[in-house]
């Protein structure tokens, strides 16, 4: 079984977000980058399937050379090889097109990724990849088991859970609790040194959107602590300051 796991290279969730160049560019100074947390779940499940179903796992990232430490971490966690498509991942369609162009001749039985990235949170790429490859796509997948050529899936839906059976190959956007995040061990980090990381150029440069500017949400007001014995102060604040009663 061949599994393709698409990973994003995103700012750590605790990063302080700011912009430069007239609010058109994300300021990466001092920011630590990580594997997208949802992609990390997809990768963890792929590595588990590698053990139980003797699968091979390829990770793919659309990004510049700066994403290679993130890709190496994915190799340290247990992926066998990696592909980096050398382009800025600025647009969901562009990214999906790059993935689809690599995947179409790759013979992958499963194409996994996070339900969404945590930088732009588009949540569109898995659907687009499915469309471009004419494959089914499902998201958000919380459980994934493989039996022969069929996958058993459970998926979160509005107000409930849906259980599905689906034939391979297909595309899945994943989220917890599909697997537990894996911490690379020292042996994995050593073996990642020699695993292949192939860099390829993007197949085309068509983008469907163009970025105009970023804007930070308004800052939240500081929390006010009110002594539990002082209910009248609380009522006064709710009435006159918050104006909710």
């Amino acid at each position: 079984m061949k599994i393709l796991v698409c990973i994003t290279h995103v700012p750590d969730t605790t990063s302080k977000i700011s912009f430069t160049e007239n609010n058109t560019k994300f300021d990466i100074s001092g920011v630590q980058f990580i594997i997208g947390p949802y992609d990390d779940y997809a990768l963890a499940r792929a590595v588990e399937l590698k053990e139980t179903h003797s699968a091979s796992v390829t990770v793919l990232n659309v990004g510049g050379a700066e994403t290679e430490p993130t890709i190496r971490k994915a190799l340290a966690i247990g992926a066998d090889e990696a592909i980096r498509i050398n382009a800025e991942p600025t647009d969901s369609f562009f990214v999906a097109k790059q993935i689809a162009d690599v995947a179409k001749d790759g013979g992958y039985d499963l194409i996994l990724m996070g339900r969404e990235s945590i930088d732009f949170n588009g949540g569109q790429v898995h659907g687009m990849v499915g469309e471009l490859l004419d494959l089914p796509s499902v998201s958000p997948v919380m459980q994934l088991d493989i039996e022969g050529n069929t996958a058993k899936i459970s998926r979160e839906i509005e107000g409930g859970k849906e259980s599905l059976e689906i034939g391979l190959p297909f595309v899945a956007g994943c989220q917890e609790p599909i697997a537990e995040w894996k911490i690379p061990n020292m042996r994995g980090i050593m073996s990642a040194r020699t695993k292949p990381l192939n860099v390829i150029e993007p197949s085309d440069n068509e983008k469907k959107t163009a970025l105009e500017s970023f804007e930070l949400p308004a800052e939240k007001n500081a929390v006010k602590m009110v002594d539990p014995d002082n209910v009248s102060e609380l009522v006064d604040l709710l009435k006159n300051e918050a104006k909710v009663i």
């Binding site: 605790t14 911490i183 061990n185 020292m186």
Partner: protein
């Protein structure tokens, strides 16, 4: 300590504290690390956050050695990271080893002791001085955590003077007969094997591998420690233990052999103590910013700022010392005296920082809600074991003057 004092102030929540550690790196020392070093450091940091930090306060309060951590250390690769991969080790460099020790000790010095002993004092001598059969027999099991090991050098009457040891073995035909006792041995009560240093009939020190289950070999536990409470400590008692001749380490003998092991362990301690200091500093910094007295955060007071400034200065110096020493270790040219300087300086600095941080936390600093008192009590052992604070001074003095103040 009644009522409405600092002791009763629980408004600063421990959970948010332990989750929000930020690593001080004032001189951008990360620039000196490779991407692989950073991945190693961050992976061990994640491991500690998942496996150690949530439980360590309770383990220490209960004086409980979590045996399950041995296998987990093996899985993550914390045992013998510099031992070649063919023997189950990590095949990593000394900077990596240092970073691993730093992160584990940021969690707890007792946990780091367990890993240090296994790697530097058990796997290292078997790898350096052992036969090929010994390496193949023991190293993979020690690396994976299937076996826990300990190191027997210190004796009840011979601590700083290990050369005076009385533990001895004699040739009894097809085996050696080992007699004597060792004390203050980390891991001993749970160890599967012990690397024991003993004198032969001629008074020459040799290393022997003693296995649990050998008749006459016992490992009584040392109770009532106020320090390293999550790590198990005990004695090794040898009463006419028959040790097979093939368990003698053939590669090196004399006091220099165990001292080489101590060099490797002391190097790891220099990094480890820095980790404990980083944790104390970070906790003190965040506490000082959140704790309000006289209507403003205590961090706004000059005496608090002085403490924090001095802490960061000392940590930064220690980080640079560690990095350069690590480079020299990798080049194989670090001397015992250079390692002594780093171990002595960094443990002393960490202990002082833990005491200052303890005060900055006020009453909360003595509780298990914060890691400070635990680090402080742990470091009292760390400043004593693997060469006391004073002995390292004399090693340096010897190096400077050429005159040994002790023999």
């Amino acid at each position: 300590m009644s009522g409405n004092t600092a002791m009763a102030d629980q408004s600063i929540n421990r959970k948010s504290f332990t989750d929000a550690f930020s690593s001080p790196d004032f001189y951008e020392i990360d620039d000196l690390l490779t991407e692989e070093h950073k991945l190693i450091r961050n992976s061990i940091r994640d491991f500690v956050k998942k496996e150690i930090t949530p439980n360590i306060e309770q383990w220490c309060q209960d004086a409980h050695f979590p045996e399950e951590i041995v296998k987990k250390f093996g899985d993550i690769g914390a045992f013998g990271p510099t031992i070649p991969q063919e023997y189950g080790g990590g095949g990593l460099d000394y900077i990596s080893y240092g970073l691993i020790m730093q992160e584990i000790e940021r969690g707890d010095s007792g946990m780091r002791s367990t890993a240090s002993v296994q790697g530097s004092l058990v796997m290292y001598p078997i790898y350096k001085f052992g036969s090929e059969e010994q390496k193949k027999k023991y190293l993979p099991k020690l690396a994976s955590g299937e076996f826990l090991g300990c190191f027997g050098l210190t004796e009840p009457d011979h601590g700083s003077n290990p050369g005076g040891m009385v533990t001895n073995f004699r040739d009894a035909g097809d085996h050696f007969l080992l007699n004597g006792a060792k004390m203050w041995i980390s891991n001993s009560p749970k160890a599967d094997i012990a690397v024991v240093w003993a004198k032969n009939e001629a008074g020459r020190i040799h290393g022997l591998i003693v296995e649990r289950g050998m008749e006459g070999f016992t490992t009584p536990e040392t109770h009532n420690k106020w320090s390293l409470r999550a790590s198990c400590t005990g004695e090794l008692v040898f009463d006419n233990v028959k040790v097979p001749k093939e368990n003698l380490l053939p590669g090196k003998n004399g006091l220099g052999a165990p001292l080489m092991c101590l060099d490797s362990a002391r190097y790891g301690i220099a990094w480890g103590a820095t980790g404990a200091a980083m944790d104390c500093y970070d906790s003190a910094r965040r506490y000082a910013l959140e704790r309000v007295q006289f209507g403003k955060p205590i961090a706004s007071f000059q005496l608090m700022q002085k403490k924090l400034s001095e802490m960061l200065t000392e940590i930064t110096k220690a980080q640079l010392l560690n990095w350069k020493l690590g480079k020299m270790m990798d080049e194989g040219k670090a001397t015992t005296a250079q390692i002594s300087l780093a171990k002595r300086n960094n443990v002393d600095m960490a202990l002082k920082i833990s005491r200052e941080a303890r005060q900055m936390h006020g009453g909360m600093g003595i509780t298990g809600e914060f890691p400070i008192m635990r680090h402080m009590m742990n470091l009292e052992s760390v400043i004593t074991y693997e060469g006391t604070h004073d002995i390292h001074l004399l090693i340096l003095g010897h190096d400077i003057t050429g005159i040994a103040a002790f023999s």
